[in-house]
Symmetry: C2
Subunit: 218 residues, 2 copies
């Protein structure tokens, strides 16, 4: 059952927000297999999370299960996707069309999860006018005018480290509200602006360290 | 000073491993500005981490600072890059040359951080023989033979969710030792195999939730 009351958005614990997409991926898989109901125990077993944790995480979402049969899969998917913000297209600009930036423009999958990158900006004149995966690239000097017209809320930061803070300051001043920072630099923002750090290199560092331990053990 | 003794690799706390690349990025920035020494207080201030935390994190690395002047930047960079595994090329195969997988093949930046993707594999026959950013793509049936020849240690998983576990089982059986899992599915591996989960969608979920809170407050 979907709870019909309108709830104000709540600040969810980050670990919960990170686990909910795992549950979503799993129940979508079940749906593909023709299943109709899923219990939190079943999710817990598959995802390798404590079943009381699953129940607690799902208690943040406006859905309740039926005794014995569990959650209706179709409803759970709809509610989770909506709750996680994947059903709204959040307009984003990407800054720094280098190797990683260009790669992210290529990834149409982000759109299915609510992130619509509508333009890329770069300091290099020669990139201006390019189209990558249908997304136009402009010189950074055109950003304020584009922002006035298109009013993006999210800035994806894929510039070199030494540009990260300057670009952040510039785009926040023009009204960008959330920054998805792929640089390994810790950008600073005014209060009320959201920063999500995704450092692929930090993840590599963790993986390499764990790997060196196995290799050493042999 | 670099500590000359050979140390066996140690299992570092994940938060430390995630912070070290931030320090590295910052000291590289200082080097670019012509600086020669850096103190842990200076790093702490810029990175927004407690200075005792910085000192503790750096104590895992085989480097010691000089009283008053701090760490020699050039040495710190070399030691950190080496310590984090960024100076060795780790050979990797990528599985699932879809939107995200193709994008990662485009990102030459990973190589600078020690990850060398040497081939992509996909189930779709029509992709076989393609070259993306100079990296060859093969049909998945060719993986065992290529693995015997090239002996990759890392598998990058960018297949659809419903294929994640089957691909994992297949490649681990052929000797892949570490999996960089970009799917939102929680793959299971035998003991001794490393898994690093990087879910871009989970990061989006966190960012969208934080953003909805600001929008609501207004």
């Amino acid at each position: 059952m979907i709870d019909d009351e309108i709830h104000p958005p709540r600040r969810l614990p980050e670990p919960t927000l990170r686990r909910l997409p795992w549950y979503l991926a799993f129940v979508k898989l079940l749906k593909g297999r023709g299943e109709v109901y899923v219990s939190s125990t079943q999710i817990a077993k598959e995802i390798n999370v404590d079943s009381s944790q699953v129940a607690k995480d799902l208690s943040f979402v406006n859905i309740s299960g039926k005794t014995r049969v569990g959650y209706e899969i179709e409803t759970l998917i709809a509610v989770l996707e909506d709750f996680l913000g994947f059903t709204i297209q959040h307009k984003a600009f990407l800054f720094g069309v280098g190797s990683l930036g260009g790669a992210l423009l290529q990834d149409s999958g982000l759109k299915q999860y609510g992130l619509e990158i509508i333009a890329g900006f770069d300091i290099r004149q020669e990139l201006s006018g390019a189209l990558i995966n249908g997304i136009p690239v402009f010189h950074i000097s055109q950003f304020p005018a584009r922002q006035k017209k298109l009013n993006a809320t999210i800035g994806v930061i894929t510039v070199p480290v030494d540009q990260a803070q300057a670009v952040t300051d510039h785009i926040v001043a023009e009204g960008i509200k959330a920054l998805w920072n792929f640089t390994p630099f810790r950008i600073r923002v005014p209060h009320g602006v959201v920063v999500q750090n995704t450092s692929l290199y930090a993840h590599l560092a963790v993986m390499f360290n764990r790997l060196s331990l196995i290799n050493h053990r042999k």
